[in-house]
Amino acid sequence: MSTRDADVALPRAEAGGTALLVSIIALMTWLALLALGASVALGAIARERQAGLAGRWTVEIAADATRSKPTEQRARDAAQLLRGVPGVVRAEPLSREDIRRLLSPWLGNDAAVEELPLPGLVDVVVDAQRPPAIAELRKRLAEIPGANVDDHRGWVVEIVRLARAAEAVAIAVFVMVGAIAILAIVAAARARLAIHAHEVELLHVIGAADRWIARQFQASALAVALRGGLSGLILAATTIGFAAWGFQLPLDRLLPLLGPSWSIIAVALAVPAVAAVAATLAARWASMRALRRLP
């Protein structure tokens, strides 16, 4: 006879309206999670690129048959020369096989590649704290014909800048999506207030405090946001899984960059939880605002 539902003095939200709102919240959560995931991943990749290439320089030896010494010999000479420079930790010439492997994505693995003149490369590890002056290094390498040193700074800076810009856009999308979801909840709370004006007025005149009536709307918004948020979470996890499979993303390498697995789970669960709290607060704000207009 008396049920726990009886604590809900307003009718449960209309089935059609609820389904629509749950779908909107689910899609918003999905978008927010993808934006958040993209932002965190881009930030992590930028950091990795920055850290991975800090202290790694490359000396390129131009392939040129007219030089007095063959390319491999000049690469060995360059490595020998660099090893004596203060701040250089290691300098190793790459074998022809290594260079061919590096170029294979562009040149393929045909036998004809054997005939192509390949440049020589020297992998240089420098002391990241006290690297040698690049101008000094260039001066010393001047005695090796066709040698040129690259500290990668130029393109690393570009990539990091691009990653940071994409990260900022992703965060902006996340914030916008959150704002739209809150507006949707506020609109739904207002619509419910309008639909149930008769019941609200009755509760008001028989002595229900504004907070008591507002709690009815909060409870409904919380239930809708939790359902929508969890559906969005499942949808986002499925999307990322399909994207990783379809585009062959190296998730096993990318995921550890984002932090320990528990922190990823915590962040993923936090989004629907934040959506639920935001929805509750938005419904409370909208209903209290309307109720204060009553005498």
Partner: protein, 227 residues
């Protein structure tokens, strides 16, 4: 609640208008003593429902002074009003039952607002439904009940929290004579138990049968026609 026992509700030169319209209540002076029973009569449109609205604190007068349970409404903060409203039971002319709740839960509503514990609430609501003769339909949807039964549910809801003041707007308007008499007997019983009662009605027969003071509203002005 501490208030001057001589005055449960007191109106002094109260006026009320809807928006910029004409005054529907003018210079109303009213003093409801605790434990009194009054009839309120008047032609349709005389302002009975408006007066009841002000009496159950659902609106503020546009002029004049209203004192309820010792509190001057013009000085009372809005957040304190619900507590005063819970001291008043109101039987609406159109019942205003909540269709999505059972009969039991409709009657239980004022107790839930007063945060009465579930065990006590079940007992009180059960007794109240017994008293109005509706114990057997406690789990029913109010829409399935007859007009008389719905009216009794509305009465049970109005009195379940033992209000100090009971107001009723045409409680016998949509029921047959026998049910009307039965409803009035319930009010008489509440009055005997100490509840202050004010009933708005057109029913002269009931007014004759139950000889209590009669207040009459004419052109928005209130007068005592039978002491």
């Amino acid at each position: 609640m501490v208030y001057d026992p001589k005055h449960m509700i007191r109106f002094e030169e109260v006026g009320f208008r809807y928006g910029n319209g004409p005054e529907v209540l003018r210079d109303v002076d009213l003093d409801l003593a605790p434990g009194s029973f009054h009839w309120l009569t008047g032609a349709s449109g005389a302002g009975k429902s408006t007066l009841l609205k002000l009496l159950h604190l659902a609106d503020h007068p546009t002029r004049g002074r209203v004192e309820a349970f010792g509190e001057d409404l013009s000085e009372l903060k809005r957040r304190h009003l619900p507590k005063l409203r819970r001291q008043i039971g109101m039987v609406f002319q159109d019942f205003r039952l909540l269709d999505h709740l059972t009969v039991f839960d409709n009657v239980a509503l004022p107790l839930r607002l007063a945060r009465v514990r579930d065990s006590s609430l079940r007992k009180d609501v059960g007794e109240m439904l017994d008293w109005v003769g509706l114990a057997d339909v406690a789990g029913a949807d109010p829409r399935t009940l007859s007009g008389g039964q719905q009216q009794r549910v509305a009465i049970a809801r109005a009195v379940v929290a033992r209000p100090l003041l009971l107001l009723a707007d045409e409680p016998t308007g949509s029921v047959d004579e026998a049910t009307g008499t039965r409803i009035l007997r319930l009010f008489q019983e509440l009055h005997r138990l100490g509840t202050t009662v004010l009933v708005a009605t057109h029913n002269e027969l009931l007014i004759e049968r139950f000889p209590h003071p009669v207040l009459r509203l004419e052109d928005g002005q209130l007068g005592l026609v039978r002491a």
